[in-house]
């Protein structure tokens, strides 16, 4: 093979993109998937992309899913890169999840409670048997039975326990300073809880699942109970400075998890249940629960607990929860590194020469 200096990177890129577009479309004989179909029928994908893309926009998330061929991390990346260009108009007032239009709410700590247990649209009790009937298209499911909601609001389990002072409070829900934003200011340590929760809400579902799981297995045990998990729609309000009062700008679908944990008390605090909190865009119970577990694990300092496990190490958790950062750095290893590798080649050859010389000298000495 004769070597010629490689030219034509530009053409290679163009051709690769053309191939990618063709690959994305697949067999043209198969009808193209529409954004409405993705949004309606692949809603959990759209939800995950909004959560990890850190932008609540089901239309754009559906577009991202389509553009990324269903690669959800790639789709979240598309959404993030778009999000970064958007102007910031202000912060909403704290969302009131007690006023959520609840579609699902389960508590593991009370058999029944105000507002009741609402199973909602869940996979929890499905038998995981492939439904071959679903493979045939055109089957409309029978309409689900309807009922009126028991009450307009559904008090949070944490508020119920709070009345007996058995659980720690919410803290101050109306802080005087603006909440931290790690997309504007670089992460610093010790990271305050608002920034930690932001990082977790944007974090990778798989990472939070694994790290939350690790706390259950003894790596930073948190002895959790699901106080409740709720899913539904919550109104978002802002206070425009020129109006001075709150106006409703729309609603978002959220999954909220309140994890209740044991605490035996410290010198300054009486024995009390403590909380881990998870809040995620869309329907994402697995992630909200993982988030609540690791949120509590990272609060070891507040309760004088010894930090020994990875999930309790705030720096470790926050630096590795972001899948856009992670995928970038892992996948960048595909980029050319032949300059570095060349220097490694020369170094290892030199070391081998020296090692061989040493062996030869030893041999001579022995003979």
């Amino acid at each position: 093979m004769a070597y010629v200096a490689v030219k034509g990177g530009e053409r290679a890129i163009d051709n690769a993109h053309a191939w990618l577009a063709e690959d994305r479309r697949g067999d043209p004989a198969v009808p193209e998937i529409s954004l409405a179909q993705i949004q309606q029928q692949l809603g959990r994908s759209v939800d995950r992309v909004m959560a990890e893309g850190s932008l609540y926009d089901p239309d754009l998330a559906a577009l991202a899913v389509k553009q990324a061929q269903g690669d959800l991390i790639e789709a979240a990346f598309l959404l993030r890169a778009y999000r970064t260009t958007l102007p910031r108009f202000g912060y909403s007032t704290p969302l009131d999840t007690a006023a959520m239009q609840v579609r699902r709410r389960v508590s593991a700590v009370y058999k029944d409670l105000p507002g009741g247990q609402v199973l909602g649209p869940t996979y929890d009790y499905t038998h995981r048997l492939l439904d071959f009937a679903l493979a045939a298209e055109g089957n409309l499911p029978a309409p689900a039975p309807q009922a009126t909601a028991e009450s307009a609001t559904m008090p949070r389990v944490s508020d119920i326990l709070r009345s007996e002072d058995l659980i720690e409070g919410d803290g101050n829900p109306m802080p005087t300073t603006e909440p931290g934003d790690l997309t504007r200011e670089p992460l610093g340590f010790p990271a305050p809880r608002d920034v930690r929760l932001q990082a977790l809400a944007r974090g990778d579902e798989g990472f939070l699942l694994a790290m939350g799981y690790s706390t259950q297995r003894g790596w930073g045990g948190t002895h959790p109970f699901v106080g409740e998990v709720r899913l539904g729609e919550v109104a978002v309000e802002i206070v425009p400075p020129e109006l001075g009062f709150a106006i409703d700008i729309g609603e978002v679908t959220l999954t909220e998890c309140q994890m209740i944990n044991q605490f035996k008390g410290s010198k300054t605090k009486p024995p009390q249940f403590t909380r881990g909190y998870g809040l995620v865009f869309g329907h994402a119970e697995r992630k909200a629960m993982g988030m609540a577990l690791v949120d509590r694990a990272m609060r070891h300092d507040e309760f004088g607990e010894e930090a020994t496990a990875p999930a309790q190490n705030i720096e470790f958790m926050l630096y590795h929860s972001d899948n856009i950062e992670g995928t970038g750095f892992v996948e960048h290893l595909k980029l050319p590194h032949y300059v570095d590798f060349q220097s490694e080649l020369e170094t290892i050859r030199r070391m081998r020469r020296e090692a061989e010389t040493n062996v030869a000298t030893l041999k001579e000495a022995a003979e």
């Binding site: 200096a5 970038g328 960048h332 490694e344 070391m351 020296e354």
Partner: protein, 300 residues
Amino acid sequence: MNGYNFAYLDEQTKRMIRRAILKAVAIPGHQVPFGSREMPLPYGWGTGGIQVTASVLGAADTLKVIDQGADDTTNAVSIRRFFARTAGVATTTDTEQATIIQTRHRIPEKPLREDQIIVYQVPQPEPLSKLEPSRAETRRMHALAEYGAMHVRLYEDITRFGHVAISYDYPVMVNQRYLMAPSPIPAFDNPKMHMMPALQLFGAGREKRIYAIPPYTDVRSLDFEDHPFRTTRAPHCCALCGADDSYLDEVVTDDAGSRMFVCSDTDHCETRQAQGHTGTGEPMAREALAAGAAHGGDGS
């Protein structure tokens, strides 16, 4: 480009980055945290360098982008296109023509001038990261100039191998104060950083750090009096331009161990060829390589 600001970033973001750059220039070698943005290119592809370039780029600038020393590597092509598209600036492959050079893993062979800026893409800005994973801790170590751990690491190499076995991203001391990662350039390029007339800027997007070396700054590769720093290159001449002092890429030409050594800096190589310099144009067989290595030493 329609719908986007000049060089992609909005002006407020550029101002924030310029402030970080000014601070970095004022404290040579010190890592300045900055509000790194999520770019339309992935982390690891040069998002830090791109943000720095976008912040210092003007309409009259001429931009050169290299990766592994070459203008035609795919990522260099992609970044050059990004700026051609979002800023409409002139681009070049000629080191001399460029006012801003964004680079990954190399410093051009041709000495840079006072009126040029070189922007390095940095994957890991923390030189102590392999010794101490916590950034809270390494920040403290930098504040106290507590660099003993790195000297011990070099010393351990010497006791084990007889020399320091770091071949790229070789740590440097900047202005006799801050230990700095030069980015994964080969140690061969380290001496070029010392007293360089051009401004050197370093951007790490994922790690959200910017640092700088102002023109004519003292930059020393860490070493010991009895084990002075030395560089390594393949002990051959470029097969295309005959250069015996440039950094070489090793190109595998068959499955029998034949190799061809060519300049990693494509502009340098082409310039020399245009001046009439030629190499053998031929690959070297495996036996010739072994003989060359035995006689050629380590090229230090």
